[in-house]
């Protein structure tokens, strides 16, 4: 969890910083003050190419921006450093046009070369996890392998104001994916002094250099000031921010041990804003100095069923999986875990997405009789002990596992154990470390059921989760899901040829309908985002895809 806290409002005990402006008016924005946000660990790097953790991105997101950004409410791609972007009719050329007079915080002009430098650095990095984003650019593989000294499909023109990218095949999420350059765009002038990617020498890369922990310039609302390991990162106002210099003087990211510590810091006023878990919602809501916000999130929890489970062959049967969905009371689970602060989900696409459409989806209302009937239709026979026997005579007993310490998942496991007993299926619950859960549910491992969740990006492209090709070690179709219809729809959504929102929504509808019918997961619920901010902090407007999209306008009311 990342919680931000602003110390400025004067809620004791804070950092002592307070709005510095002397304006006596209460509703006119005044400059000054410090926001303190909480994070659950140090940034591992402040350079997006090699960043893999949320603590790191929580820092560099304020410094290195993309050409585009995600609309905080709709999830759609909108302009950022680029004032416009267009995809050719055949979907094979993408052109960005930058805003005028963009400047880094050190006064260097921002140009298309910064974007080009960043993408070349991604290609040669040995530690990045972002290469797949660019793999369809013409000339990518030749450059990556050292056959050329630059990527032929990228052209920067008009004195650095336009970027043209040519693709070998259509990639529908390209506009958003390319715009971010796999994270954020680096200041090429400063970074070129430590690494020059325009060479055929593949042994050199950007992975280990001092600027990775000492950002030299910023295009975002803040500039890097100081990092104190284990304590905090301090950022200062960027007066050259293209949306206007922030009203706040400082943004501090303070490091806490875990989400509970951040919640405590929010309650005591040490932290200015942040999200809390549903279990803490009522407690935090009682704090007078805080105001609350609530919105839908792109996340969901589920029970996954391994269709290839050797010890539970019945999981390959669609009727059994449907019975497992009918057999569990999702509404009761939601009440118990998130106190109703969430939305039940019936397929993969999360409720806030522009592609979400629940029309025609089966709601699987809890029905024990129907669950039993489905099991019997599948060939199961009730045993004398109240537990069904599968067609091969084996007792329908199976393991469901999840990670210890996650209260929500532990509670789901308890519900599953009790409720599946009522439909004649015996559950052997297993709580284990998160590390062990990852090992035990890797594709190709023999497991049965597991409880976990997805936190999804703004672009609805679930190819890696549901396509039948994604079942190798470490990949995400670990339940062995295989549907030619879904495979085809996933490719349509990803590679077109029609990349319009209407066409992609239709393709995703096919995916959702198939997943809803075949029930490879028992889809459970999406918890709401519960956000609190210091009452004195003004202009805060958090939503699904960003809680800080307008941070330059935040100010402290005296």
């Amino acid at each position: 969890m990342l919680v931000a806290t602003a110390c400025a409002g004067g809620e004791p005990p804070t950092s002592g910083a307070s709005p510095t402006a002397s304006a006596a008016t209460t509703d006119k924005p005044v400059a000054g003050g410090r926001v303190v946000a909480g994070a659950t660990g140090d940034p591992k790097t402040m350079q997006p190419i090699i960043s893999t953790d949320t603590q790191s991105s929580f820092v560099w997101q304020w410094l290195y921006l993309g050409l585009t950004r995600t609309n905080y409410k709709t999830g759609e791609t909108e302009s950022s450093l680029a004032e416009k972007f267009e995809q050719s009719k055949d979907g094979l050329t993408l052109t960005y046009t930058l805003r005028d007079n963009l400047q880094w915080s050190d006064g260097t002009p921002f140009t298309g070369e910064d974007w080009r430098y960043t993408v070349h650095s991604v290609a040669r990095s040995a530690k990045t996890v972002r290469k797949s984003t660019f793999q369809d650019i013409v000339g990518w593989a030749d450059y990556r392998d050292g056959k050329t000294n630059s990527i032929s499909g990228i052209t920067v023109g008009s004195n650095g104001k336009t970027i043209e990218i040519k693709f070998a095949k259509v990639f529908c999420p390209a506009t958003a994916a390319m715009g971010g350059a796999g994270g954020g765009i680096l200041p090429s002038a400063a970074f070129k002094k430590v690494y020059d990617p325009y060479t055929t020498d593949t042994k050199q890369n950007i992975d280990d250099n001092p600027l990775n922990m000492n950002p030299p310039a910023s295009m975002g609302p803040f500039v890097f000031k100081e990092f104190k390991p284990g304590i905090q990162v301090t950022l200062g106002r960027n007066d050259k921010y293209f949306r206007g210099a922030p009203l706040l003087d400082e943004f501090v990211i303070k490091v806490y041990a875990d989400a509970t510590a951040i919640k405590n810091a929010l309650v005591t006023g040490e932290v200015t804003y942040g999200t809390v878990e549903a279990k803490d919602y009522e407690e935090v809501k009682k704090v007078d100095s805080l105001k609350d916000f609530r919105y839908k999130t792109s996340t969901y929890n589920y029970i996954g069923w391994n269709a290839k489970a050797a010890k539970a062959p019945w999981l390959a049967n669609k009727q059994v999986r449907q019975a497992l969905w009918y057999g569990i009371n999702v509404d009761a689970i939601m009440q118990k875990i998130v106190f109703g602060l969430g939305t039940q989900v019936y397929a993969h696409t999360p409720p806030p997405s522009w592609a979400y459409d629940e029309a025609g989806l089966n709601k699987y209302k809890n029905d024990v009789a129907k669950a039993k009937s489905l099991l019997e239709q599948a060939g199961a026979k009730m045993g004398s002990d109240g537990i069904y026997r599968w067609t091969d005579g084996s007792t329908m007993k199976m393991r469901i596992e999840t990670n210890q310490g996650n209260n929500a998942r532990e509670t789901i496991l308890q519900f599953a154990q009790e409720q599946y007993k009522q439909i004649g299926i015996q559950i052997d619950p297993l709580l284990e470390s998160f590390n062990a859960l990852l090992d035990r549910t890797d594709p190709g491992t023999d497991f049965e059921g597991f409880i976990i969740g997805w936190s999804l990006g703004a672009d609805p492209d679930p190819y890696s989760i549901w396509h039948s090709s994604q079942q190798g070690k470490g990949q995400f179709n670990n339940i062995g899901y295989n549907s030619p219809t879904v495979d085809q729809a996933l490719l349509e959504n990803r590679n077109g040829p029609d990349c319009s929102q209407t066409a992609r929504k239709a393709a995703l509808k096919k995916v959702d309908q198939a997943l809803n019918d075949e029930a490879p997961y028992t889809f459970l619920y999406s918890a709401d985002g519960l956000f609190f901010a210091n009452k004195q902090l003004q202009s805060v407007d958090p939503s699904t895809y960003s809680s800080t999209w307008n941070i330059e306008k935040w100010w402290f009311k005296k």
Binding site: C7, P12, P13, T14, S15, G16, A17, R34, V36, G41, D42, K44, T45, I50, T52, D53, A126, K127, T128, V129, R130, K131, S132, T133, Q135, D207, D208, M213, K228, P229, G230, I231, Q232, V252, K254, V255, Y256, A257, D258, A261, N264, V267, T268, E270, E432, F434, N435, A436, L438, D439, R440, D442, P462, Y463, S464, G472, K473, G474, Q475, F476
Partner: protein, 319 residues
């Protein structure tokens, strides 16, 4: 004495090697690995990227090769680069050591400063209310888990009453070591970290003082007309302290294990918290480095303890 120290240092080598081997095996053979943890939820990673990451981190080599390479690095005082931080593990560890030492040293002073007087009082006031009170405190203080005590402290004195901060070393915007703000932040972790030690010392010391106090030389000292304070300080306490010195080695061990938890509870940016986080995320070089340093310090502390015996009791000859 010089030969004694040299011999003890040589004897420490196999112990240290055992620690190295165990640390390496336990971290590698426990479930999952850093790449899996790093990439969990990142659905766009290709199998080629995954393989490249294993290769870049040296995790695709056979375990004996990894172990041998690590030993070779250690021989050159190179602890390797942190998998997550992309920085030398030793740098990460060393920048946290001063913070942990602040806690340890203060807790140690607190334990000795409070624990020894309590032990003496318990013995001298044997059977009276002070003795009973101290014994009850000893049992309770020893039995209560530190993490629980820490959580209760944070909830009661920081979240509910706001008398103390919920953690960390300084208030945001303040940056000082010798100041009230730091002292204010130290109260909770030092108190909780030293409770078990304070509870432990009187138990050991009470028994020893009672034994020493009945010795002939104490009676002789009293009969010489020495004041009771002089008898206790010079004749009783010095002889009763030997088992207390023995327990100091254990206290150091408790500090390290205690700090793993206490630094997390109080959000203290020390070695314990770094080690805990590195262990959870399987940052092998950092975990291994932290454990080696802690083990080395522990072994050294035992050697120093043995030397201290001779100082406390000259009858003990170093052989």
């Amino acid at each position: 004495m010089g030969r004694f120290i040299a011999r003890r240092l040589v004897q420490a080598i196999p112990t240290l090697f055992g620690v190295l081997l165990l640390t390496f095996l336990l971290s590698r053979l426990s479930p999952s690995d850093p790449v899996k943890l790093m990439l969990y939820g990142n659905t766009e990673v290709t199998q080629e990227d995954r393989a490249q990451l294993y290769h870049a981190l040296g995790l695709d080599k056979p375990l004996p090769v990894q172990f041998a390479e690590w030993l070779w690095q250690l021989a050159h005082l190179d602890f390797g680069n942190s998998i997550y931080y992309h920085r030398p593990a030793l740098d990460l560890i060393l920048e946290r050591v001063p913070n942990s030492l602040q806690l340890s040293l203060l807790a140690f002073v607190f334990i000795v400063g409070v624990g020894i007087p309590l032990g003496v009082i318990a013995a001298l006031r044997r059977g009276r209310i002070e003795d009973h009170g101290i014994r009850v405190f000893s049992v309770v203080g020893h039995a209560v888990p530190e993490f629980w005590l820490g959580l209760i402290f944070v909830l009661t004195f920081a979240v509910q009453n706001r008398w103390f901060p919920i953690g960390s070393m300084n208030v945001v915007g303040t940056d000082c070591t010798l100041c009230w703000d730091r002292a204010w932040h130290l109260v909770g972790p030092v108190l909780v970290l030293s409770i078990a030690g304070i509870a432990n010392l009187p138990r050991i010391l009470r028994t020893e003082v009672l034994e020493v106090i009945s010795q002939d030389y104490v009676r002789t000292a009293r009969s010489k007309g020495l004041s009771e304070q002089a008898v206790v300080a010079v004749h009783v306490l010095r002889n009763a302290l030997i088992p207390v010195v023995t327990s100091f080695g254990t206290i150091l061990l408790l500090f390290f294990s205690g700090q793993l938890i206490i630094e997390r509870v109080f959000n203290w940016p020390g070695l314990g918290r770094l080690t805990f986080e590195a262990a959870v995320s399987k940052d092998y070089p950092v975990v291994q480095g932290a454990i080696i340093i802690a083990s080395t310090l522990l072994i050294l502390s035992y050697i120093i303890r043995d030397i201290a015996y001779a100082w406390v009791d000259p009858r003990i000859k170093v052989k």
